[in-house]
């Protein structure tokens, strides 16, 4: 029942959205080059199905690699900022400044500094664009931890790290995963930025570009939908992880 609901509700929402889109395009009579409608996309998907599979995979693995890096580094930076007020005051403006710089302009610089190392560059951009929300959420989780919670473990002589692992992290898990959901979408944007701005011929960005060259609007829209789809897949993986980790916290650990 609930499982059915868990699947039916999002599917229904997506369907409603697609129908609305189709209707909008139909009602406004927009041409393909303005906005393709969902029904135009199927031929594009079918025609290029192997390309979608391969390039989708290329994009996906680089995104996930960048995201993993972002989780590790974001958590690290977040911990430093959460535990030390000094670090927070010093790092926040730098990070905000760095993040306000459009990554599209950073891509060429990266591409020049690390010439030809496409995978590395792509993963780095995905990482750079997506670590900030995680760092912010971990830092806030730590700096707003109620003293009562902290004291439970501190009274036993536990280290800061232990307090983080046993109390702060699980307690901010919802916010952490919320940040991760934001980061997932950002990481996709990062990967694609690299694929489009500094093309290396792989990934969905390359497919988009190639659709753009031949003014194949349905293909371009199909790529965007494929990206959205991958984003949703990754989102559900994050949701599943959320369950696993909550489950782990639930059981009596050994």
């Amino acid at each position: 029942m609930t499982l059915l609901r868990k699947i039916a509700v999002p599917l229904g929402a997506i369907l409603v959205f697609l129908l609305l889109w189709e209707w909008l395009v139909w009602a406004k009579g927009w041409p393909d080059y303005k906005m393709a409608s969902p029904s135009d996309l199927w031929p594009a998907f079918w025609k290029y199905r192997w390309l979608f599979l391969e390039n989708g995979w290329q994009t996906l693995w680089r995104t996930v690699a960048g995201l993993l890096l972002a989780v590790v580094a974001g958590t690290g930076i977040g911990m430093v900022m959460g535990f030390s007020r000094l670090a927070r005051e010093a790092l926040y403006p730098l990070l905000v400044g760095f993040n306000a710089i459009p990554k599209a302009t950073v891509v060429p610089i990266m591409a020049l500094i690390f010439v030809g190392r496409h995978d590395f560059n792509t993963i780095m951009i995905a990482f750079m664009i997506s670590f900030f929300p995680i760092a912010v959420s971990v830092s806030i989780g730590l700096s707003t931890l109620e003293p009562e919670y902290r004291d439970i473990l501190r009274a036993l002589g536990a280290s800061q790290l232990t307090v983080f692992r046993k109390i702060a992290l699980p307690k901010t898990l919802p916010e952490f995963f919320g940040a991760l959901k934001v980061s997932v979408t950002l990481a996709f944007i990062g990967t694609n930025l690299m694929e489009i701005v500094s093309p290396h011929g792989r990934g969905l960005g390359a497919l988009f570009d190639s659709g753009k060259i031949s003014a194949d609007y349905p293909l371009m829209f199909a790529v965007l939908i494929a990206l959205a789809f991958l984003g949703i897949v990754l989102y559900y993986i994050v949701v599943a992880l959320e369950k696993v980790f909550a489950g782990w916290a639930e059981r009596a650990p050994g």
């Binding site: 439970i152 002589g157 916290a249």
Partner: protein, 260 residues
């Protein structure tokens, strides 16, 4: 398996926006290893503050706290503490909440041994049925009991209890008094008990300290005249009744009412 606790001229004030709020003034108490000391005093006088100082969660402004011959500068693993507000971790089951200290404190117990210990304690306080429940599924009194188990699970040398039975009905409370007395005989910790129930302090403690209103000083100390082995009836003996009467009077003085 137990340590001496010593307060040497402990003075403490909280820094608040409107200036310092003096809470404890020049406390000197020595609690021998294995002893059981109860602190009673008016609400807001500084009892919880005292427990935090002993646990090393805060450093006194002046004076020192010594545990087992060492000056306390930071919290240590040999202390077990039940806080006045029993904060349980919502993302863990009750059993897992109780196991928490064993995950932190260095120890050589096997997983099975840890579980045995935790289950045994939960059974003692009547929570066997609730091992796998979440904290939010427990009543106020049940949470307090779970928190007590968490304070005990790692067999601490020093046990600090801040109103551990405050939310319990008279009979559950009396049961737990007896459980405490039995545990004490088995595990030989040095105990500090904060309570507002005079009968509780008389039943459990070797020494009872009455604190004055804030800023708290030690207003009165009373060594128990009761035998070590006690059952509930002992509270109706003339010695206990007299102790209770004295304590009542002292607290009345502590609160600034005429003892008349």
């Amino acid at each position: 398996m137990s340590a001496e606790i010593e307060l040497r001229a402990v003075t403490h004030a909280y820094r608040t926006e409107t200036g310092p709020l003096p809470v404890l003034r020049h406390l000197d108490v020595k609690m021998p290893p294995g002893s059981f000391t109860a602190f009673v005093g008016p609400s807001g006088c500084g009892k919880s503050t005292l427990t935090k100082l002993i646990a090393g969660l805060m450093r006194p402004d002046e004076g020192q706290v010594w545990l087992g011959g060492q000056m306390v500068r930071a919290p240590r693993a040999t202390v077990g503490m039940a806080f006045q507000n029993p904060v349980l971790l919502e993302w863990r089951s009750i059993l897992s909440n109780v196991l928490l200290p064993l995950e932190i404190v260095p120890n050589t117990l096997s997983r099975a041994a840890r579980l045995d210990r935790a289950r045994e304690l939960l059974a003692l306080v009547g929570l066997s049925e609730f091992e796998e429940k979440r904290p939010s599924e427990l009543s106020g009194g049940m949470r307090q009991r779970a928190s007590l188990c968490r304070a005990l699970v790692h067999r601490p040398e020093v046990l600090i209890l801040d109103e551990p039975f405050g939310a319990l009905d008279a009979f559950t409370r009396e049961d737990l008094w007896q459980t405490m007395a039995r545990l004490r005989a088995e595990e030989r910790f040095t105990a500090v008990l904060i309570t507002h129930d005079l009968r509780e302090s008389v039943f459990l403690a070797d020494e009872i300290v009455v604190m004055s209103a804030r800023p708290a000083t030690i207003q009165y100390r009373m060594a128990s005249r009761l035998p070590a082995a006690r059952d509930l009836d002992i509270l109706y003996t003339p010695e206990a009744v007299e102790m209770l009467a004295t304590l009542r009077r002292q607290i009345q003085i502590a609160q600034g009412r005429d003892a008349a």
